[in-house]
Symmetry: C2
Subunit: 162 residues, 2 copies
Amino acid sequence: MTEAPPIANTQNLEDETIAFWMEIAVTLGFPRSVGEVYGLIFISELPLNADDIVSKRGMSRSGAGQTLKLLADIGAIRTTLSSHSRKEHYELQTDLGVLVRLFLNSRVLPRVEELARRQTTLAAQASATGNTHLIARFNKVERWQTKTAPLIALVKSLATTA
Amino acid sequence: MTEAPPIANTQNLEDETIAFWMEIAVTLGFPRSVGEVYGLIFISELPLNADDIVSKRGMSRSGAGQTLKLLADIGAIRTTLSSHSRKEHYELQTDLGVLVRLFLNSRVLPRVEELARRQTTLAAQASATGNTHLIARFNKVERWQTKTAPLIALVKSLATTA
DNA sequence: CAGAATTTACAGAAATTCCTGTAAAAACAG
DNA sequence: CTGTTTTTACAGGAATTTCTGTAAATTCTG
C-alpha cells in the first residue's frame, strides 16, 4: 500500500481545523454542523454568506441559514455591515470572551442555578416530611454543592468579566 | 376545575426527586433513564436489583441491567456484598466525591485535554505553513485558553482530591 | 409599487440515540 | 454435572434529533 504523505498541506490543515471545531461544538451540546459552519468561518479570511457554506460543504441552503442564525444568536459570528453584495455576510466574532460569556449566561448558568434551586426545594420538602433517610441523602448532596461552590463562583466570574 | 392539593405527599416528593436526577443526568450527557435509575436508588433505603427497577418503573429488564452496569462503572452505585438473595443488589455510592472524581477523570478531563492537544498541534501546523490569517486566529484561541486555565486547574484539583 | 433576490418557517426525510425482546452466556445450587 | 436463575450481547424497533426541500415571507432594487 502507498502511504499518504505525512506532510500537512493547507487543505488538510483546514479540514482538521473544521473537524476540531465540530468536536468543540458537540462537546458544548450543539449539532456537529454548527461546529462545521463555525470552523469554515474561522478559517476564512473573508466573510461568508449562506451560499458559500452550501458550495463549500454541500449542506442544504436552509440548513446553512439556520445554522448561521444560531451562531449569530449565540454571539459566535456576526453580520458584516459593509458588504457590497445584497446577501448577508457573516464573520467571526473575534472577541472570544463575548462568546464565552454569552454561552455561560445563556446555557450553563441558568441550568446550574435551576438545578440548585430544585435541590434546595426538595431538601426542604424532605425535611418537612421527616423522612430521615431522604433528609440524610439530601444532606450529602448539599455538602457536595459546598465543595463545588468555588467552581461555580469561578464560572460566574468568567460569565460576567471574561 | 378542581385544584390538585399543593401539599407535597411522599409520592410526589419521590417522583420529583427522580425527575431531579433525570435532569442532572441529561445535563451531564447521560440518557434520562440513567438518572431515573439513579434517582430510584437514591430514594430507596434498601439496595435494589434489576427486577426492582423493572417493577417500579416499567423499563425493560435488559435496559435496567445495562443502566445499572453503567452506573456501577461510573462509580455512582455499587453492588452490596451481603445480600441473601442470589440477584445482584445495588446501593448508592454515598461518597459523592468518588462519583465526581470518576466522572471528571473518565468523561470531562480526557476530552478537554484531547481538545487542547489538538489545538496546540493545529496552531503549530498553522505556524509552519506561514498562513498569517490562521496563525492570528489560533493565537486568539490560545489566549482564551490562558483565561480559562484557572478553571481547568480547579477542575483538575477536584478530579484528584475532591 | 412590481419584480427579483434572499431569508425564514415548516413539514417530512434521514440519521442518530435509546430502549426493548430474544436468545446466548454465565453463575450458581443441588 | 444438570437444571435453574440471573446477567449480558446484540439485532431490531421506537423515539428523538438533525437535516433537507419547498413554499411563503421578507428585503431590496429599480
